[in-house]
């Protein structure tokens, strides 16, 4: 919001490319966004649209074979792409922390909860044994992990999915970062636990003034989180705006399709779910035109094949990348 003038995170034209038989393909392609302290950004899109990969660039942990480019990738005014290993390590966890998508895979089966969290704290905050232990317990109880004193000796395999998720959250909270990236932090959980976790993240955000990036498949959850919403398709942003704006007035055919196929959108209770026909393009397949053209009900034959649509302004805070919308406005994408 406008009370903190300078964004903590500034991203311009971010892309991640991988080598392939057909040459280099982009799995994240030209993303731009900003985030202020205490603000949140929801990134939504189908599986494989590059959400996780985009988040990983903020921690410098994309796979070794990848190439990351950006006109700007600044954290508090500091260029991330120029960081060396020590620079990254000082930032990771302490400034920017990530809650990984699948805690079953993201937690080392042979490292106890306590060791994992204490290691991160020791790395960034130091302190005596007792202080580190106290901080570990505090982070766990903040994340709603029950009886941390006794249960933090557990290995991840001894915990339920919900508790593992809380461990991942506690780890992210442990070094008091300014930005938390929650990469589908609730996808693998039952609805009731999902609601608890979202509640917790919102509470922590308000309490600690965190910036939050919340990645999800589920536009219903976007409404709970609030802030900005970026809809991604095939590595590109196709629509960007405040959450209510985009949800009430979706301007991209893909966003509309996504809304019609989302089970948790309360407004859609009475109409049956309509999945988007076809499958998402593989990396590189959508290059050269509008990324969604192959599955788009209102694609414009020539234009969408040839030219990638630039942004069209919908309001001060809302923009969409669609040839049809640019030509005909809302009527064209109905």
């Amino acid at each position: 919001m406008s009370d903190s003038p300078k964004p903590v995170l500034e991203v311009e034209n971010l892309s991640v490319r991988f080598p392939s038989q057909r040459g280099e393909v982009a799995v994240v392609d030209g993303l731009s966004f900003q985030l202020r302290a205490g603000e949140s950004l929801v990134i939504a899109g189908e599986s494989g649209s590059g959400k996780s990969m985009a988040c990983r660039t903020l921690l410098g942990i994309t796979p070794d074979s990848s190439r990351v480019d950006a006109d700007r990738l600044d954290w508090k005014g500091q260029g991330l792409l120029a960081l060396d290993r020590a620079g990254w390590n000082a930032l990771r966890g302490a400034e920017i922390a990530m809650i990984f998508q699948d805690p079953a895979a993201a937690l080392n089966p042979l490292i106890t909860v306590e060791t994992l969290i204490s290691d991160a704290i020791r790395q960034h905050r130091g302190g005596t044994r007792a202080e580190v232990r106290a901080r570990t317990i505090e982070a766990l109880s903040r994340a709603g992990f029950p009886e941390p004193e006794f249960r933090m000796k557990a290995f991840p395999g001894e915990l339920s999915g919900g508790l593992r998720q809380r461990v991942a959250i506690a780890l992210a909270l442990s070094c008091e970062p300014s930005l938390i990236i929650a990469d589908e932090a609730t996808t693998n959980l039952d609805v009731s636990i999902q609601a608890q976790i979202v509640e917790l993240l919102r509470f922590l955000q308000a309490d600690l003034g965190l910036a939050l990036i919340f990645v999800t498949h589920d536009l219903g959850l976007a409404r709970e989180i609030g802030g900005d919403l970026m809809v991604m398709y095939a590595g590109q942003a196709v629509e960007y705006g405040r959450v209510p704006e985009v949800l009430e007035d979706p301007c991209h055919p893909y966003t509309r399709g996504l809304l019609r196929s989302a089970p948790t959108m309360a407004s859609d209770r009475n109409t049956p779910l309509q999945p988007i026909p076809g499958t998402a393009p593989r990396p590189g397949e959508a290059a050269g035109g509008a990324p969604f053209r192959a599955r788009c009900p209102v694609a414009m034959e020539r234009l969408c094949e040839r030219e990638n649509p630039g942004w069209t302004r919908v309001s001060d805070t809302h923009r969409v990348a669609c040839h049809r919308f640019a030509a005909e406005g809302r009527g064209g994408v109905q």
Binding site: D102, P109, D119
Partner: protein, 308 residues
Amino acid sequence: MWSYAFRRLLQSAMIVLIIVVSVFIVMRLSAGDPARLRAPVFARPDVIEQYRRDFGLDRSLFEQLGSFLGGLLRGDFGTSFRFQAPVTDLIMEALPRTLLLAGCSLAISLSVAVVLGSLAAMRPRSIWSWLSGALAAFGQSAPVFWTGAVMVIVFAVILGWLPPGGYNGASSLVLPAIAISLSILPTQLRVLRAAMESTLQEEYIATARAFGINQWRITFVYALKNAILPLLTVVGVDVGYLLGGVIVAEVVFAFPGIGELALTALKSRDYPLIQGITIVTASAFVVVNLLIDMIYFWVDPRIRQEHS
């Protein structure tokens, strides 16, 4: 934990018992008539009969097995023909040296496999990666007797740094231990490197990196705990191979351990001694595998859970 340990212990004891009985039977079937072997060449039949009675060979096989097992329980493996001394004493003199040699060899090869294999996995295009490939290829193609002989020539005969053989304290261990460890290293190195390479791709390693954990701690603590499990399995399987290497090395370096003792026993058809050595080495194999299972249990909480 204790019930699992107890169960495994009982299992191992059963295996040792089966080994003992099989060794006893096989020796009786294949060694020929020991009385004839020990008696003077042209001994009269009644002299041979006297020998048979002395060795207890006139009794039934079943009785013989019984008294043999009874003896084992008291730590009595019988008397060596060749040395006219209790087999137990002979083995107890040689065994600690052999265990020391085997232990040193294993320690060397495991340390090299862990350090070099991890570095090679961590830095795929570095000198470590090249070195680990070269060492694995070399160890694979050079048998113990060859590396042993070459090392004796270079380090003992030409340079005179180390004794060429025999047993005179720690310096006598160096060359044979290196020769043996070179022979068991290739498998260990390859297994650890492959396990480390795949472990470093795991999402939980990305998590550790994402929280700024130092890269050495990531490799040698976070990843190694996972990557070392396949190596442990290999060590269990390789103990037999290790023992083979130890026997060859003991012969090459005239190292007075179990291997050399076994060779002497075989050459002189000293079957109580052969029998004793076979039982002891086979039991060592069982014990090592039991230990490895216990280490597994201790390292891996998933196994602990399975058995609780």
